[in-house]
C-alpha cells in the first residue's frame, strides 16, 4: 500500500510529530509526505531527510500559508489517485483537515489509531480511553489519524527522499485567516516532551500556577494543565491535557493538585511513570499513579525542586 502523510509544520520546520506518523505509515507500506505551505522549502528538506520517506510532494503557494482545512483537503483530493491511505497526526491540525478529505473521497475515517494490527485493521481508544476498539476497514482507500504518542518517531536524518513539486489547485475561498495567538514558550512541546509537570485546580490561582515553573525548569519539562485549571483561567487552553485536549505519554508525568477526572486520565494514562501530588488520598489520580504523595502541594513543590537541584 502507498500512504500519503499530510505534514504538520509552521512553514519553517517540520513538526516532530510527523516523524511518529512516518513510523505508523511505514507499517502499511510505502510512505510519501505532502508538505503544503508557503515559502516552506526548509520543511520539504526536513521531510526528505526523515528516515523511511520515499517521496516528498511539495506544494508551495501563498494560499497555503495558514494551512486552512478547505484548501488542504482540496489539494489532497487532487493527489488521491496514486494513494491507498491518507494519514495525519491526530493533532488539532490533522483533526481539522482529514475528515474533510475523507468525506470528499466518500471514505469513513478511522480516528486516532494507537495500533496497526494489519493493513486493514486498527486499534483505537473510545470513551475517553476507557475502551479500546479494534476496527476493520473493507474500503479500498483509507483516511487515518494517528495517536502520535503510540508510535516512536522515525529518525529525522538519514533519509534521502525525492522532492517533487506539485501545484495547488484552484478552489473556492471558503475561509479566511484573521489572526493567531500562539502561546510563546521556550519549554518543550507537550506532545513530545519527555517530562511533563501538570497542574490542576488545587493550585488555586494563576499566580500559584507559576509555582510549577521552578520544578519544570529543573526537569527540563513541559507544563500542562487539567481542564479545571484552564477553565479557571490558571493556564491557557493549549496547556490542556485530556479527552478534548492533548494526549501525551511522556517518560515522567507529575500531576500536581489534579484530582484525576476520567477526561483528564484519557490524556495522560499512557505515560511511563506517573507521580501524583494531592492532599486527598481518595483522589482518582492515585489509581493510575506509580508514586503518590498525599501532601500539600505548596510544601512539596519547593522541596521537590530543591532536592532535585542538589
Amino acid at each position: 500500500m502507498r500512504t500519503l502523510i499530510l505534514a504538520e509544520h509552521d512553514n519553517g520546520a517540520l513538526n516532530d510529530l510527523t516523524l511518529n506518523a512516518v513510523t505508523c505509515a511505514g507499517l502499511l507500506g510505502t510512505v510519501d509526505i505532502l508538505v503544503a505551505g508557503s515559502d516552506c522549502k526548509a520543511v520539504a528538506t526536513d521531510a526528505a531527510c526523515a528516515m523511511g520517506v520515499q517521496t516528498v510532494l511539495w506544494a508551495d503557494d501563498a494560499r497555503l500559508v495558514h494551512g486552512l482545512a478547505e484548501d488542504l483537503a482540496a489539494l489532497l483530493v487532487s493527489l488521491s489517485q496514486d494513494y491507498d491511505v491518507f494519514l495525519a497526526v491526530a493533532s488539532s491540525f490533522g483533526k481539522n483537515a482529514m475528515p474533510r478529505v475523507a468525506a470528499l473521497l466518500d471514505i469513513q475515517q478511522i480516528s486516532d489509531i494507537c495500533e496497526v494490527v494489519d493493513a486493514n485493521t486498527f486499534k483505537r481508544p473510545i470513551y475517553a480511553g476507557n475502551a479500546l476498539q479494534t476496527v476493520r476497514s473493507g474500503e479500498t482507500k483509507k483516511v487515518i489519524t494517528v495517536r502520535a504518542s503510540a508510535f516512536a518517531p522515525t529518525s529525522p536524518s538519514g533519509g534521502s527522499a525525492t522532492v517533487k513539486t506539485v501545484s495547488m489547485i484552484d478552489t473556492p475561498k471558503l475561509s479566511t485567516f484573521v489572526s493567531a495567538h500562539l502561546t510563546a514558550s521556550d519549554r518543550p512541546d507537550l506532545r513530545s516532551a519527555p517530562v511533563i509537570v501538570s497542574g490542576g485546580r488545587g493550585l488555586g490561582s494563576l499566580e500559584n500556577f507559576a509555582l510549577l515553573e521552578r520544578l519544570a525548569d529543573v526537569l527540563g519539562a513541559g507544563i500542562g494543565a487539567s481542564r479545571a485549571a484552564v477553565d479557571a483561567g490558571f493556564a491557557p487552553n493549549d496547556y490542556q491535557i485530556g479527552q478534548s485536549g492533548k494526549v501525551v505519554a511522556p517518560d515522567l508525568y507529575i500531576a500536581v493538585g489534579i484530582s484525576g477526572a476520567i477526561q483528564h486520565l484519557a490524556g495522560m494514562k499512557d505515560s511511563r511513570i506517573i507521580v501524583a501530588i494531592n492532599t486527598d488520598p481518595d483522589a482518582p489520580i492515585f489509581k493510575v499513579a506509580d508514586y503518590g504523595l498525599v501532601a500539600d502541594l505548596f510544601d512539596v513543590l519547593p522541596k521537590l525542586a530543591e532536592v532535585l537541584e542538589q
Binding site: S111, T134, R136, S179, D290, Y291, L308
Partner: protein
Amino acid sequence: MKILVAVKRVVDYNVKIRIRADGSGVDTAGVKMSMNPFDEIAVEQAVRFKEAGLASEIVIVSIGPVKAQDTLRTALAMGADRGLHVETDVDLEPLGVAKILAELARRETPGLVFLGKQAIDDDANQTGQMVAALLGWGQGMFASKLELSDESVEVECEIDGGLQTLKLPLPCVVSADLRLNEPRYATLPNIMKAKSKPLETLALSAFDFDVSPRLEILTTVEPTPRACGKILASVEDLVEKLKTEAKVI
C-alpha cells in the same frame, strides 16, 4: 437567520462505562444517557444568538433510536424552536451522520450548521468537518468564541499552539469546543413548554442514499489497567524512587 444544531444522545459523561465481557461492545442498557456535552454547548450558543436577535429560528436534529427524542426535548427546553428526529436503531458512523445532516441542511437552508466538536462516546471528531465538505461550505472547528453577523462569522478556534481566528462567509459549519460557554439548565416551565414544541420524525428510509457502516468493529475491550502504585512518605523518597527504581531522572 436559521441555525441548524445537531445533537447526539450518549452515555452521560459522569457514568463509568461497562464493557461487555465477550468484547461485543459497551453495555448501555439501563445506563443514564444525556446530550453529548459538546453538542449542549452548541445548543446554548444558538439560543444565545437568538436571544441577542442574531438568529430567527433554531432547528435541532438528532439521529438515533426513539429515545433520541428525549435529547431533542432537552434542547427544546433550553430554547430551541423545532426538532427533527431521524429514527434509526443502527449505530451510524460519522460519514453516514454527515450525509444526513448535509441533506437536512439542503432542505432547511440554515445560515449556520452547528454541533459539538466530538461525541464523548466514539471520540471521532469528524462529523462537522464532513458536513462542511459534503456541502462545499467553510468550516470553523473547535470554536471557543464566535462573532456572528448577517453575512459571516468570526470563529476563534482552539488549536494545539494556542488560538486561531478565522472568518467564514455564511452558510458554514461550526463545531463547539468546551470554553465557548457554560450551558444553562432548562427550567421546569421551559421543560413543560418544550413538550408542545413541534418535533418531526423522519424515517432513515426517507433518505435515498446509503448510510450503512463501512467499518467492522471486531472487539471492544478494556485497556490494560496500570499496576497499583505506592504512596510514599516524603519528597526524598520520591526522588530516590524516580532515580533508582523508575530511572526517569
